[in-house]
Protein backbone atom coordinates (compact mmCIF):
# COMPACT_ATOMS: atom_id res chain seq x y z
CA UNK A 1 0.00 0.00 0.00
CA UNK A 2 1.44 3.33 -1.10
CA UNK A 3 0.80 6.04 1.45
CA UNK A 4 0.72 9.76 0.82
CA UNK A 5 3.99 10.03 2.75
CA UNK A 6 5.61 7.74 0.18
CA UNK A 7 4.34 9.92 -2.64
CA UNK A 8 5.64 12.99 -0.86
CA UNK A 9 9.11 11.45 -0.70
CA UNK A 10 9.06 10.98 -4.46
CA UNK A 11 7.73 14.49 -5.00
CA UNK A 12 10.77 15.84 -3.22
CA UNK A 13 12.82 14.68 -6.18
CA UNK A 14 10.92 17.08 -8.44
CA UNK A 15 12.74 20.39 -8.41
CA UNK A 16 9.60 22.53 -8.63
CA UNK A 17 8.12 20.98 -5.47
CA UNK A 18 11.12 19.93 -3.40
CA UNK A 19 11.06 23.05 -1.24
CA UNK A 20 7.31 23.39 -0.82
CA UNK A 21 6.01 19.85 -0.57
CA UNK A 22 5.57 19.89 3.22
CA UNK A 23 3.06 22.73 2.92
CA UNK A 24 0.97 21.05 0.23
CA UNK A 25 -2.21 19.18 1.19
CA UNK A 26 -3.16 15.76 -0.18
CA UNK A 27 -5.93 17.32 -2.30
CA UNK A 28 -4.14 20.48 -3.40
CA UNK A 29 -3.62 20.75 -7.13
CA UNK A 30 0.10 20.28 -7.70
CA UNK A 31 -0.02 22.24 -10.95
CA UNK A 32 -1.26 25.23 -8.96
CA UNK A 33 1.67 24.74 -6.60
CA UNK A 34 4.40 24.97 -9.20
CA UNK A 35 4.44 21.61 -10.96
CA UNK A 36 4.78 22.07 -14.73
CA UNK A 37 4.51 19.63 -17.64
CA UNK A 38 8.18 18.69 -17.63
CA UNK A 39 8.03 18.33 -13.84
CA UNK A 40 5.10 15.93 -14.20
CA UNK A 41 7.14 13.83 -16.61
CA UNK A 42 10.01 13.81 -14.12
CA UNK A 43 7.53 12.73 -11.43
CA UNK A 44 6.10 9.97 -13.62
CA UNK A 45 9.55 8.55 -14.30
CA UNK A 46 10.48 8.73 -10.61
CA UNK A 47 7.28 6.90 -9.58
CA UNK A 48 7.82 4.23 -12.23
CA UNK A 49 11.34 3.60 -11.02
CA UNK A 50 10.46 3.62 -7.34
CA UNK A 51 7.47 1.27 -7.62
CA UNK A 52 8.55 -0.73 -10.67
CA UNK A 53 5.38 0.14 -12.54
CA UNK A 54 4.54 1.62 -15.92
CA UNK A 55 1.83 4.20 -16.41
CA UNK A 56 -0.37 3.11 -19.33
CA UNK A 57 -1.09 5.58 -22.12
CA UNK A 58 -4.59 6.37 -20.83
CA UNK A 59 -3.08 7.68 -17.58
CA UNK A 60 -0.47 9.89 -19.22
CA UNK A 61 -2.33 13.12 -18.53
CA UNK A 62 -2.38 15.99 -16.07
CA UNK A 63 -5.19 14.56 -13.96
CA UNK A 64 -3.17 11.46 -13.01
CA UNK A 65 -0.52 13.67 -11.43
CA UNK A 66 -2.72 16.48 -10.18
CA UNK A 67 -2.86 15.71 -6.42
CA UNK A 68 -0.97 13.61 -3.92
CA UNK A 69 -4.12 11.60 -3.22
CA UNK A 70 -4.78 10.81 -6.89
CA UNK A 71 -1.14 9.88 -7.44
CA UNK A 72 -1.27 7.54 -4.42
CA UNK A 73 -4.49 5.89 -5.62
CA UNK A 74 -3.17 5.48 -9.14
CA UNK A 75 0.12 4.00 -7.98
CA UNK A 76 -1.75 1.61 -5.68
CA UNK A 77 -3.87 0.37 -8.59
CA UNK A 78 -0.85 -0.08 -10.81
CA UNK A 79 1.17 -1.94 -8.17
CA UNK A 80 -1.80 -4.21 -7.46
CA UNK A 81 -2.34 -5.01 -11.12
CA UNK A 82 1.39 -5.59 -11.53
CA UNK A 83 1.29 -8.06 -8.62
CA UNK A 84 -1.84 -9.87 -9.88
Amino acid sequence: MVLSQDVRETLKSVAALSETIDGIGDDDNLFDKGLDSFGSVQLMLALEERYDIEFPDNLLNRRSFSTIRIIGETVNKLTLSAAA
Binding site: D36, S37, F38, S40, V41, M44, D57, L60, N61, R62
Partner: protein, 321 residues
Protein backbone atom coordinates in the same frame (compact mmCIF):
# COMPACT_ATOMS: atom_id res chain seq x y z
CA UNK B 1 -8.40 41.60 -53.46
CA UNK B 2 -11.88 41.92 -52.03
CA UNK B 3 -13.43 38.63 -52.98
CA UNK B 4 -12.33 35.31 -51.60
CA UNK B 5 -10.90 32.79 -53.98
CA UNK B 6 -12.98 29.64 -53.98
CA UNK B 7 -10.98 26.82 -52.39
CA UNK B 8 -9.40 24.74 -55.11
CA UNK B 9 -9.88 20.97 -54.87
CA UNK B 10 -7.05 18.60 -54.07
CA UNK B 11 -6.87 17.04 -57.47
CA UNK B 12 -4.16 15.49 -59.57
CA UNK B 13 -5.82 17.08 -62.58
CA UNK B 14 -5.17 20.47 -61.13
CA UNK B 15 -1.71 19.75 -59.87
CA UNK B 16 -0.37 17.49 -62.55
CA UNK B 17 -0.63 18.34 -66.19
CA UNK B 18 1.45 15.42 -67.34
CA UNK B 19 -0.11 12.24 -68.62
CA UNK B 20 1.50 9.18 -67.12
CA UNK B 21 0.52 5.58 -66.71
CA UNK B 22 1.82 5.56 -63.17
CA UNK B 23 0.84 8.22 -60.66
CA UNK B 24 3.83 10.24 -59.58
CA UNK B 25 4.12 11.62 -56.08
CA UNK B 26 3.85 15.32 -55.44
CA UNK B 27 7.56 15.35 -54.60
CA UNK B 28 8.45 13.71 -57.92
CA UNK B 29 6.30 16.20 -59.82
CA UNK B 30 8.00 19.07 -58.00
CA UNK B 31 11.37 17.64 -59.08
CA UNK B 32 10.10 17.07 -62.62
CA UNK B 33 9.08 20.72 -62.89
CA UNK B 34 12.32 21.93 -61.32
CA UNK B 35 10.47 23.64 -58.49
CA UNK B 36 12.50 21.65 -55.98
CA UNK B 37 16.01 20.37 -56.67
CA UNK B 38 17.34 17.05 -55.42
CA UNK B 39 20.40 17.06 -53.15
CA UNK B 40 20.53 13.34 -52.41
CA UNK B 41 19.10 13.81 -48.91
CA UNK B 42 15.40 13.38 -48.15
CA UNK B 43 13.99 16.64 -46.85
CA UNK B 44 16.92 18.77 -48.05
CA UNK B 45 16.14 20.50 -51.33
CA UNK B 46 17.13 23.36 -53.54
CA UNK B 47 14.39 25.77 -54.61
CA UNK B 48 13.77 27.28 -58.02
CA UNK B 49 13.25 30.96 -58.67
CA UNK B 50 9.51 30.35 -59.12
CA UNK B 51 9.30 28.52 -55.82
CA UNK B 52 11.20 31.29 -54.09
CA UNK B 53 8.98 33.97 -55.61
CA UNK B 54 6.00 32.33 -53.86
CA UNK B 55 7.88 32.01 -50.56
CA UNK B 56 8.81 35.69 -50.75
CA UNK B 57 5.22 36.68 -51.62
CA UNK B 58 3.89 34.82 -48.56
CA UNK B 59 6.56 36.42 -46.42
CA UNK B 60 5.41 39.85 -47.69
CA UNK B 61 1.79 38.95 -46.94
CA UNK B 62 2.75 38.09 -43.37
CA UNK B 63 4.57 41.43 -43.13
CA UNK B 64 1.52 43.27 -44.47
CA UNK B 65 -0.85 41.53 -42.08
CA UNK B 66 1.21 42.51 -39.05
CA UNK B 67 2.33 45.91 -40.32
CA UNK B 68 0.13 47.97 -38.00
CA UNK B 69 1.20 46.22 -34.81
CA UNK B 70 4.60 47.83 -34.36
CA UNK B 71 6.56 44.58 -34.07
CA UNK B 72 10.31 44.85 -33.73
CA UNK B 73 11.87 43.02 -36.64
CA UNK B 74 14.88 40.81 -35.93
CA UNK B 75 16.65 38.29 -38.14
CA UNK B 76 18.99 35.67 -36.73
CA UNK B 77 21.15 33.26 -38.72
CA UNK B 78 19.96 29.64 -38.75
CA UNK B 79 22.34 28.73 -35.94
CA UNK B 80 22.11 29.63 -32.28
CA UNK B 81 24.28 29.52 -29.20
CA UNK B 82 24.64 25.99 -27.82
CA UNK B 83 24.40 27.10 -24.15
CA UNK B 84 21.21 29.02 -25.00
CA UNK B 85 19.86 25.99 -26.83
CA UNK B 86 20.64 23.73 -23.86
CA UNK B 87 18.93 26.13 -21.45
CA UNK B 88 15.88 26.41 -23.69
CA UNK B 89 14.80 22.88 -22.79
CA UNK B 90 14.48 21.77 -26.41
CA UNK B 91 16.34 18.54 -25.67
CA UNK B 92 13.76 17.57 -23.03
CA UNK B 93 11.05 17.32 -25.64
CA UNK B 94 12.74 16.83 -28.98
CA UNK B 95 16.17 15.19 -28.67
CA UNK B 96 15.54 13.33 -31.92
CA UNK B 97 14.93 16.48 -33.96
CA UNK B 98 17.89 18.55 -32.79
CA UNK B 99 20.88 19.24 -34.98
CA UNK B 100 24.27 20.18 -33.61
CA UNK B 101 27.17 21.58 -35.60
CA UNK B 102 30.33 19.57 -35.16
CA UNK B 103 33.70 20.71 -36.46
CA UNK B 104 37.20 19.43 -36.93
CA UNK B 105 39.33 20.60 -34.02
CA UNK B 106 42.33 18.32 -34.39
CA UNK B 107 46.00 18.61 -35.28
CA UNK B 108 48.01 17.60 -38.34
CA UNK B 109 47.95 13.93 -37.42
CA UNK B 110 44.18 14.05 -36.92
CA UNK B 111 43.87 15.74 -40.32
CA UNK B 112 45.89 12.99 -41.96
CA UNK B 113 43.67 10.36 -40.28
CA UNK B 114 40.55 12.16 -41.44
CA UNK B 115 41.76 12.19 -45.05
CA UNK B 116 42.75 8.55 -44.96
CA UNK B 117 39.32 7.63 -43.60
CA UNK B 118 37.66 9.47 -46.48
CA UNK B 119 40.03 7.79 -48.92
CA UNK B 120 39.16 4.38 -47.46
CA UNK B 121 35.44 5.13 -47.29
CA UNK B 122 35.33 4.63 -43.52
CA UNK B 123 33.86 6.88 -40.85
CA UNK B 124 35.81 10.14 -40.71
CA UNK B 125 33.60 11.88 -38.14
CA UNK B 126 35.16 10.42 -34.99
CA UNK B 127 37.37 13.45 -34.36
CA UNK B 128 34.60 15.96 -34.97
CA UNK B 129 33.77 17.93 -31.83
CA UNK B 130 30.59 19.77 -30.94
CA UNK B 131 30.98 23.46 -31.70
CA UNK B 132 29.39 26.32 -29.82
CA UNK B 133 26.61 26.49 -32.43
CA UNK B 134 23.49 24.37 -32.88
CA UNK B 135 21.00 24.62 -35.71
CA UNK B 136 17.98 26.75 -34.90
CA UNK B 137 14.96 24.49 -34.29
CA UNK B 138 12.33 27.26 -34.39
CA UNK B 139 12.68 30.90 -35.39
CA UNK B 140 11.86 32.20 -31.90
CA UNK B 141 14.47 30.19 -29.96
CA UNK B 142 17.33 32.71 -30.35
CA UNK B 143 15.00 35.54 -29.33
CA UNK B 144 14.26 34.70 -25.69
CA UNK B 145 17.75 35.27 -24.24
CA UNK B 146 17.99 38.50 -26.22
CA UNK B 147 14.67 39.74 -24.85
CA UNK B 148 15.57 38.61 -21.32
CA UNK B 149 18.82 40.60 -21.41
CA UNK B 150 16.85 43.81 -21.86
CA UNK B 151 15.29 43.53 -18.42
CA UNK B 152 11.63 43.61 -17.43
CA UNK B 153 9.09 44.09 -20.21
CA UNK B 154 7.34 47.43 -20.60
CA UNK B 155 3.71 47.51 -19.44
CA UNK B 156 2.45 46.95 -22.97
CA UNK B 157 4.72 43.91 -23.33
CA UNK B 158 6.82 43.28 -26.44
CA UNK B 159 6.15 42.07 -29.95
CA UNK B 160 8.77 40.66 -32.30
CA UNK B 161 8.83 39.74 -35.98
CA UNK B 162 11.21 36.91 -36.90
CA UNK B 163 12.11 34.75 -39.86
CA UNK B 164 14.72 32.05 -40.04
CA UNK B 165 15.71 28.84 -41.69
CA UNK B 166 15.11 26.10 -39.12
CA UNK B 167 16.35 22.54 -38.84
CA UNK B 168 14.60 19.39 -37.69
CA UNK B 169 16.12 15.99 -38.24
CA UNK B 170 13.19 14.08 -39.66
CA UNK B 171 14.05 12.74 -43.12
CA UNK B 172 10.87 12.17 -45.11
CA UNK B 173 9.65 11.76 -48.65
CA UNK B 174 6.77 14.12 -47.94
CA UNK B 175 7.82 17.45 -49.46
CA UNK B 176 6.03 19.25 -46.64
CA UNK B 177 8.36 17.69 -44.07
CA UNK B 178 11.66 19.29 -44.96
CA UNK B 179 14.67 19.10 -42.70
CA UNK B 180 15.64 22.70 -43.45
CA UNK B 181 12.82 25.15 -43.99
CA UNK B 182 11.83 28.73 -43.26
CA UNK B 183 9.58 29.81 -40.46
CA UNK B 184 8.16 33.32 -40.20
CA UNK B 185 7.00 34.18 -36.69
CA UNK B 186 5.45 36.90 -34.63
CA UNK B 187 6.21 36.49 -30.94
CA UNK B 188 4.33 38.26 -28.16
CA UNK B 189 5.61 38.64 -24.60
CA UNK B 190 3.55 40.08 -21.77
CA UNK B 191 0.69 39.19 -19.43
CA UNK B 192 -1.47 36.11 -20.05
CA UNK B 193 -4.29 38.38 -21.30
CA UNK B 194 -1.99 40.21 -23.70
CA UNK B 195 -0.49 37.11 -25.26
CA UNK B 196 -3.80 35.25 -25.50
CA UNK B 197 -5.41 38.24 -27.23
CA UNK B 198 -2.47 38.21 -29.66
CA UNK B 199 -3.00 34.53 -30.41
CA UNK B 200 -6.73 35.00 -30.98
CA UNK B 201 -6.06 37.91 -33.33
CA UNK B 202 -3.63 35.85 -35.40
CA UNK B 203 -5.97 32.86 -35.49
CA UNK B 204 -8.44 35.16 -37.26
CA UNK B 205 -5.84 36.84 -39.47
CA UNK B 206 -4.14 33.61 -40.48
CA UNK B 207 -7.44 31.91 -41.28
CA UNK B 208 -8.56 34.86 -43.41
CA UNK B 209 -5.21 34.98 -45.22
CA UNK B 210 -5.31 31.32 -46.16
CA UNK B 211 -8.93 31.51 -47.30
CA UNK B 212 -8.05 34.46 -49.50
CA UNK B 213 -5.36 32.30 -51.10
CA UNK B 214 -8.08 29.86 -52.14
CA UNK B 215 -6.93 27.07 -49.85
CA UNK B 216 -9.26 24.64 -48.06
CA UNK B 217 -8.39 24.92 -44.39
CA UNK B 218 -9.27 23.56 -40.98
CA UNK B 219 -8.10 24.89 -37.62
CA UNK B 220 -7.48 22.04 -35.19
CA UNK B 221 -6.10 21.58 -31.68
CA UNK B 222 -2.60 20.16 -31.94
CA UNK B 223 0.47 19.08 -30.05
CA UNK B 224 4.16 19.27 -30.70
CA UNK B 225 5.88 16.00 -31.69
CA UNK B 226 7.37 15.32 -28.27
CA UNK B 227 9.75 12.37 -28.04
CA UNK B 228 9.00 9.02 -26.39
CA UNK B 229 6.56 7.91 -23.68
CA UNK B 230 7.21 11.02 -21.65
CA UNK B 231 6.40 12.92 -24.81
CA UNK B 232 2.97 11.33 -24.99
CA UNK B 233 2.17 12.87 -21.64
CA UNK B 234 3.48 16.28 -22.72
CA UNK B 235 1.41 16.02 -25.90
CA UNK B 236 -1.73 15.04 -23.96
CA UNK B 237 -1.20 17.95 -21.57
CA UNK B 238 -0.67 20.39 -24.43
CA UNK B 239 -3.91 19.35 -26.10
CA UNK B 240 -5.90 19.25 -22.86
CA UNK B 241 -4.86 22.82 -22.10
CA UNK B 242 -5.55 24.10 -25.62
CA UNK B 243 -2.04 25.48 -25.93
CA UNK B 244 -1.51 24.80 -29.62
CA UNK B 245 -3.68 25.14 -32.69
CA UNK B 246 -2.70 24.44 -36.25
CA UNK B 247 -4.16 25.60 -39.51
CA UNK B 248 -4.18 22.52 -41.69
CA UNK B 249 -4.39 22.19 -45.46
CA UNK B 250 -4.48 18.88 -47.38
CA UNK B 251 -1.25 18.79 -49.36
CA UNK B 252 0.20 15.28 -49.39
CA UNK B 253 -3.21 13.75 -48.72
CA UNK B 254 -6.72 14.50 -47.48
CA UNK B 255 -6.26 12.09 -44.57
CA UNK B 256 -3.14 13.70 -43.17
CA UNK B 257 -3.39 17.43 -43.83
CA UNK B 258 -0.35 19.62 -43.37
CA UNK B 259 0.04 22.23 -40.64
CA UNK B 260 0.82 25.45 -42.51
CA UNK B 261 0.42 27.88 -39.61
CA UNK B 262 0.60 27.25 -35.89
CA UNK B 263 -0.65 29.33 -32.99
CA UNK B 264 1.11 28.58 -29.74
CA UNK B 265 0.62 29.69 -26.14
CA UNK B 266 3.75 28.82 -24.15
CA UNK B 267 2.29 30.03 -20.83
CA UNK B 268 5.26 30.97 -18.61
CA UNK B 269 7.54 28.24 -20.05
CA UNK B 270 10.06 30.53 -21.75
CA UNK B 271 9.50 33.35 -19.25
CA UNK B 272 10.56 31.04 -16.42
CA UNK B 273 13.50 29.51 -18.28
CA UNK B 274 14.88 32.90 -19.31
CA UNK B 275 13.72 34.89 -16.29
CA UNK B 276 11.70 37.29 -18.43
CA UNK B 277 9.57 39.47 -16.17
CA UNK B 278 6.50 41.57 -16.82
CA UNK B 279 6.54 45.20 -15.76
CA UNK B 280 4.93 44.24 -12.42
CA UNK B 281 7.60 41.63 -11.70
CA UNK B 282 5.46 38.59 -12.54
CA UNK B 283 6.94 36.01 -14.91
CA UNK B 284 6.17 36.91 -18.52
CA UNK B 285 3.95 34.73 -20.65
CA UNK B 286 4.68 34.24 -24.34
CA UNK B 287 2.86 33.18 -27.48
CA UNK B 288 3.76 32.94 -31.13
CA UNK B 289 2.24 32.49 -34.55
CA UNK B 290 4.38 30.59 -37.02
CA UNK B 291 4.04 30.55 -40.81
CA UNK B 292 5.60 27.55 -42.54
CA UNK B 293 6.72 29.39 -45.67
CA UNK B 294 7.60 26.31 -47.73
CA UNK B 295 4.49 24.50 -46.55
CA UNK B 296 2.17 27.32 -47.60
CA UNK B 297 4.00 27.47 -50.93
CA UNK B 298 3.52 23.72 -51.40
CA UNK B 299 -0.16 24.02 -50.48
CA UNK B 300 -0.60 26.66 -53.19
CA UNK B 301 1.24 24.51 -55.73
CA UNK B 302 -0.85 21.49 -54.79
CA UNK B 303 -4.17 23.25 -55.07
CA UNK B 304 -3.58 25.73 -57.88
CA UNK B 305 -1.18 23.72 -60.02
CA UNK B 306 2.57 23.56 -60.56
CA UNK B 307 2.58 26.29 -63.20
CA UNK B 308 2.39 29.46 -61.15
CA UNK B 309 1.88 31.56 -64.28
CA UNK B 310 -1.42 29.75 -64.76
CA UNK B 311 -2.66 30.47 -61.25
CA UNK B 312 -5.95 32.42 -61.00
CA UNK B 313 -5.47 36.12 -61.68
CA UNK B 314 -6.97 37.05 -58.32
CA UNK B 315 -4.46 34.86 -56.53
CA UNK B 316 -1.54 36.26 -58.50
CA UNK B 317 -2.76 39.75 -57.75
CA UNK B 318 -2.96 38.89 -54.06
CA UNK B 319 0.60 37.54 -54.06
CA UNK B 320 2.40 39.86 -56.45
CA UNK B 321 0.01 42.72 -57.18
Amino acid sequence: MDQLLAPAPLSDEVADDEVSSEPRSLLDRLFDRGLLVRTGVDGLYGRSGDFESVVEAIDRLATKLGAGDGAESLRFPPGMSRPAFERSGYLKGFPNLAGTIHCFCGNDADHARLLSCIEAGTDWTGDQAASEIVLTPAACYPLYPVAAARGALPEAGLLFDLQSYCFRHEPSLEPTRMQMFRMREYVRMGSPDQVLAFREMWLERGTAMMRELGLPIAVDPANDPFFGRAGRMLANNQRAQGLKFELNVPVNSEDKPTACLSFNYHQDHFGTIWDIKQADGEVAHTACVGFGLERITLALLRHHGLDIKAWPAALRERLWG
